[in-house]
């Protein structure tokens, strides 16, 4: 089946993280009349699943994850309008606002979590590092997020995770969001003490918690 070969090539382009190649194959598939939903579900999604599995087996690492996620996002910019035209839309599992807390500039763990969340179908807004507590809350409201995920590496910066929860409470919106904490200095005991909804030691833990929070886990 010619379509099967195309799906295979779409999947391979995701796995190799080649954004330009993926875009070219997406255009080719559209020209051949393949439905955008099939391009995503039968071509790109299996590639994303494979990337996630290889990452879990330590066969690939953060750069490959980031490139696969970027390739995916590039293709979705082309496919999403077509999906809407066809009366559908992109199926998002949920929305996450992600960042490293104020005073902390460590990004690698956060980036791994971000890439894995995207792989799992979440729409992620990454605020970056050194993010004020109020910025997490403001962006969560703008982005209509389901989850706020805050990372902190240092024992002198984890108090900022509590500050996020205090800001949510001060605005009266605490119950709207699932707050997940992680990073080198966080522990389950800490998460419980500040009233967080979950603690993930690893990126895999964070994704499992996020899926559970949106009823998919």
């Amino acid at each position: 089946m010619p379509s099967e070969a195309l799906y295979q090539r779409l999947s391979e382009a995701i796995i190799s993280g080649d954004r330009n190649k993926l875009l070219a194959i997406v255009e080719e598939a559209l020209r051949e009349g393949i439905a955008p939903s099939d391009i995503i579900e039968r071509g790109m999604s299996p590639g994303m699943r494979e990337v996630g599995e290889r990452f879990a087996r330590y066969e690939i690492y953060l750069p490959e994850m980031m490139m696969a996620a970027e390739a995916w996002e590039g293709a979705m910019k082309v496919l999403e309008p077509r999906l809407l035209e066809a009366g559908g839309g992109q199926k998002r599992v949920g929305r996450v606002v992600l960042g490293t807390v104020k005073g902390d500039i460590h990004s690698i763990g956060k980036n791994i979590v971000g890439a894995m969340l995207k792989m799992s179908g979440f729409e992620v807004f990454d605020l970056g590092v050194d993010v004020a507590a109020s910025a997490f809350v403001t962006k969560a409201e703008e982005f209509e997020a389901d989850i706020i995920a805050a990372s902190a590496l240092m024992s002198t910066t984890i108090p900022q995770q509590r500050s996020i929860i205090e800001h949510l409470e001060a605005r009266g919106v605490r119950q709207r969001y699932c707050v997940l904490v992680g990073g080198g200095s966080a522990t389950q005991e800490w998460a419980d003490s500040i009233g967080a909804d979950g603690y993930g030691r690893t990126a895999g833990d964070a994704v499992a918690l996020a899926l559970k929070a949106v009823g998919k886990g």
Binding site: Y58, Y61, P63, M67, G103, S107, I112, T156, P159, S185
Partner: protein
């Protein structure tokens, strides 16, 4: 060597690029290219490789990678670039034999080579493990300073000031950093070693102003401020401010690089190359007297995993064969205090480090993050192992490290939590429980019986 002012100037004038483009457009492809060009391949069966040619290829790859990539300044969004000639000149004119400590505790930092008989420098202490109260803090410093093989102290991280949780960047951060230094000095005085150097000034401090404040309350010129790069090959002005202050104050610097295995550097081969590439960065930007590496596993959060041990061992060999900037390796283990596993983990990474030309800083337990999960016993054991293997061949070390890994690597994800300091030590006397002493003696015997390792007889617990 290129002066620091010129480095700062380059942070303002170097090529502009976004952080994303630096990461995925420059760093990653440059690294992949040199790893392939120099045929750097991970061998899980040799956590302690013994291939000088491979070590030198890692070094060449690291230098080429640095010259092509540079270091990204987060504040100016520019690359700080160095020519090959500038890198070579820095390596030739770097610091040698820096003296740390005062009085009877003053000592020159040794340059060591792979399989070198020169005793390694041993820094001991909790290595940033958070500590809940000042009494535990002083006792931990005192207990570590009483270690007869200790050359310097690696201080814990105080978590509160009079019950208020320390927040970096706040006045509590300033007071916490000052108090950490004063408590450390007191702990060392009680141990009868007032001249011991502190080499991780100041763990409790996050920002440059906290380092500076602490320096005015008891840090000496013969102590070292610990200043680090940012993952990976990045720097910010706050870290450069610490360097600027240290240079003005005439203070020493331990230059810290914790390459994340699984992060931008990718797998073990990339981690080894980037760790080697940091050596001249530590001279040129951080102005260090020591390279202080700790390649850490992204998922397990430790340096005692097989792949991180391989990357550390190989990077050590690459650096110590080609650069005069000494290496003091830091270790993070998974298990908690008073467990056999923690002693095995520390032993594995310590042996790999020492036979590969490094000195050691032992050691963080329970991944360095669990409150009060630290004791002076494991650093004592680790420093004994470090002295016992000085001069050992890498081939022999590889057999021992493989055997040690077999004892614990399957438990790295869910290690035994062990006991808090106050659960395995008498907090009034600062002495370990009898049960802990027996466990320590048992593993000492194992090291002798299974591996022929005769640990020094200087221990107070024999």
């Amino acid at each position: 060597m290129l002066n620091f002012a010129s480095v700062v100037e380059r942070a303002f004038s170097g090529p502009i690029c976004t952080e994303r483009d630096f990461e995925l457009g420059i760093f990653v492809p440059n690294l992949r290219r040199v790893v392939e060009k120099y045929a750097i391949k991970y061998d899980p069966q040799s956590p302690v490789p013994a291939d000088d040619d491979l070590a030198d290829r890692v070094w060449q790859a690291g230098i080429e990678f640095l010259a092509e990539t540079g270091v990204y300044c987060l504040d100016t969004e520019r690359r700080i670039l160095f020519s090959r000639e500038e890198i070579e000149t820095a390596l030739k004119s770097g610091p040698r034999g820096s003296i740390l400590g005062e009085g009877e505790d003053a000592k020159a930092m040794p340059r060591r080579f792979p399989e070198d008989e020169t005793p390694p420098w041993c820094s001991v202490g909790p290595t940033s493990v958070p500590v809940s109260n000042e009494w535990n803090y002083i006792n931990l410093v005192k207990g570590n300073a009483e270690n007869p093989l200790a050359d310097s102290i690696t201080i814990p991280c105080l978590t509160n000031v009079d019950g208020r949780q320390i927040v970096g960047g706040s006045p509590l951060g300033i007071e916490g950093a000052i108090r950490a230094v004063l408590l450390t000095r007191e702990g060392m005085r009680r141990a009868g070693r007032p001249g011991m150097p502190i080499v991780n000034g100041v763990t409790t401090a996050t920002r440059s102003q906290e380092h500076i404040a602490a320096h005015h309350f008891g840090l000496r010129r013969t102590d070292a401020l610990e200043i680090g790069t940012i993952h990976e090959m990045k720097i910010d002005f706050d870290s450069m401010n610490k360097v600027a202050y240290s240079l003005a104050a005439g203070s020493l610097i331990f230059a810290e690089n914790g390459v994340i295995l699984g992060g931008l550097a990718g797998g073990p081969a990339g981690v080894a190359v980037v760790t080697a590439a940091y050596n001249p960065v530590d001279l040129l930007i951080l102005r260090g007297v020591v390279q202080h590496p700790f390649p850490t596993h992204f998922d397990l959060g430790v340096t005692s995993a097989r792949d991180t041990i391989w990357a550390r061992s190989l990077a050590n060999q690459a650096v110590t064969r080609n650069s005069s900037l000494p290496v003091v390796n830091v270790g993070y283990s998974a298990a908690g205090p008073m467990t056999k596993m923690l002693l095995y983990e520390h032993s594995a990474w310590v042996i790999a480090s020492v036979v590969s030309g490094g000195s050691v800083e032992v050691g963080a337990s329970a991944r360095g993050t669990a409150l009060d999960y630290t004791s002076p016993m494991e650093p004592l054991f680790g420093s004994e192992v470090a002295h016992a293997v000085a001069g050992m061949s890498r081939k022999e070390a590889n057999q021992i490290v493989n055997a040690l890994l077999e004892k614990y690597e399957s438990k790295l994800r869910d290690p035994p939590v062990g006991k808090k300091y106050q659960e395995c030590y008498d907090v009034a006397t600062g002495k370990p429980s009898q049960e802990f002493i027996e466990l320590y003696r048992e593993v000492r015997r194992e090291m002798a019986d299974q591996f022929g390792l005769e640990l020094p007889p200087s221990s107070p617990y024999l």
